[in-house]
Amino acid sequence: MLHRFGVVVAASTAVLIFAGGLVTSTGSGLSVPDWPTTYGWNMFTFPIDKWVGGIYYEHSHRLIASGVGVLILVLAAWLWRAEPRRWVRRLGYAALAAVVTQGILGGITVLWFLPDPISIAHAGLAQLVFCLTVAIALVTSRGWKRGSTLDDGPLRTVSVATTALIYVQILLGATMRHTGAGLAIPDFPLAFGQLVPPVWTGPIAIHFAHRVGALVVAVFVLATVAHVLSHHRGRPELKRPALLLAAGLVVQITLGALTVLSGKEYIINSLHVVTGALLLVTSLVLALRAHRSRFAADVETVRVAA
């Protein structure tokens, strides 16, 4: 039951990230100038007939965020009451602290007119909240509690590296979005018709770094997938996320290209954001499962508690 609730919380966090992506993609971040109120109303009583234009995206994002915040609060309380493993309880506390901080960052970035560092931090912390909720859902699952005898050092290394690189790539993407560099290189796959941009400005450098980052991530994702398929084809708990990772990579690169070619069409742009987050947590799940044997002692803890 706790695991299922964790899955719901994680899924709602993905929805929240998509809603946040829509806010930036539609340029609606300042359409509600006050916070935590909405045009002077308590945000929960703001009349629905006033959800117009950019307000629709910004206000929806705030409401969904409030809902996710409550869900994470319940999750943390549930873990505190029912979870025997201290480190899992701590994951719940960390998720709660992160989502509260995330809310404050969201408010500050509105009140301070979207300063780039705070907006980028808001985007980066959203991914960590998502990672924490997914991790909680994973480690409370039956499959995790059954334990694992897997001991594959190279897989542990490559999966962690892939996860870390995806996160760095997401931060680069957030920097590109919030500094307005999303179309600094207007063509794809080339850059101004060449492999390397012929001119360099700050936005072009940020944009190009995101493209190079995509290549690096692709290499590591493919290395991870290849390792799983060649060494652990019979382990569905590894094979499934590996195949998802490969498929997600193709979708994500396609969405990235379409974002540029469509002139940052807002739905495509936002799907690119949420697909990046899904790639990150898929890689995280694979990395955690690769490390499962390191948590072996917890199996005993859970059994004793049960």
């Binding site: 359409s31 100038p33 002077g40 117009v52 307000i55 408010g107 007119f113």
Partner: protein
């Protein structure tokens, strides 16, 4: 009534680095959440967020003389016309359907980035004296300038104001707007106007050509305010003409600013009681 009075109080304006009192409830709530939020980051955020605030929107007007230093017996004028060179672009229709209150305004509104009239007359060009007034200082007009929000558009699209002069931003629409000024030198502000008839006043503290205004609710809404420390500015109308009147004799740099076509300057000499002509011609943006 209670709601109306509350909404009047909500037309808050925030300047960079300041919070108003509405953040105070948050400070109390968050600090009760205990050790989870004792992280250094959150503490630093709260230090800033709880540090005080202000709803004061107006910059203090700089001291200004009460009398015009120009001798009317010798004052001259600069007149002219701004033209668009080339084939005028066809104005694109504005899609206002994200707000039903705006879509009901007819659906035929066009965007205003380049408005060309008969004979290539270029509208919405801000023409002003950029240089040549020396140390002359001018009184601040007591009458405010009005920037209206009507039909989900800013009217006028381009206007001028003096430093310290009151700029009134009025919501004449049956919908809500946020008024978001994005200056480079003056203080940025963003204020909500949820009810028709709400008015926001502001005074800019330093010269700046131009201060963009936008509504983030309705992203097609843009206006530009030229802020100067003297009264010698004008905005071209449908015939592309402008007049800068009451100038003391002298040689001036006149600049014409257009939101998409750029800036042009010309030097002109104004003799006593005479009118000098200046013509500007903007080519299509490449």
């Amino acid at each position: 009534m209670a709601r109306d009075s509350r909404l009047e109080a909500t037309e808050t304006q925030r300047h960079r680095g300041q919070f108003d009192g509405s953040s105070l409830w948050l400070c109390g709530s968050v600090t009760r959440l205990g050790p989870l939020l004792s992280a250094v980051f959150v503490a630093s955020v709260l230090t800033v967020a709880c540090g005080g605030g202000s709803q004061e929107s107006a910059a203090p007007p700089p001291p200004a003389p009460t009398e015009n230093p120009v001798d009317p017996a010798t004052a001259g004028n600069v007149t002219g016309r701004v033209a668009f060179a080339g084939t005028p672009p066809k104005p694109a229709l504005l899609r206002m359907d994200s707000d039903p209150n705006c879509a009901g305004e007819g659906g035929s509104a066009t965007e205003e980035s380049v408005v060309v009239g008969d004979g290539g007359a270029l509208r919405n060009v801000f023409v002003y004296v950029k240089d040549g007034l020396g140390s002359l200082r001018f009184p601040i007009p007591s009458t405010p300038v009005l920037l209206d929000q009507k039909g989900c558009r800013y009217i006028p699209h381009v206007l001028g104001a003096q430093v310290g002069q009151t700029v009134e931003v009025l919501n004449s629409d049956p919908t809500l707007h946020n008024v978001h000024a994005v200056p480079g030198s003056n203080d940025e502000f963003n204020t909500g106007q949820p009810l028709p008839g709400m008015k926001h006043t502001h005074r800019f503290s330093v010269s700046e050509v131009m201060v963009p205004f936008k509504c983030d609710v309705h992203p097609w809404m843009r206006a530009y305010v030229g802020v100067l420390d003297h009264p010698f500015f004008a905005v071209t109308g449908p015939d592309g003409s402008f007049t800068l009147s009451g100038l003391p004799p002298g040689t001036y740099t006149i600049e014409a600013w257009h939101e998409t076509l750029g800036r042009q300057t010309q030097t002109v000499t104004v003799a006593a009681k005479e009118t000098a002509d200046v013509m500007f011609s903007f080519a299509p943006a490449s």
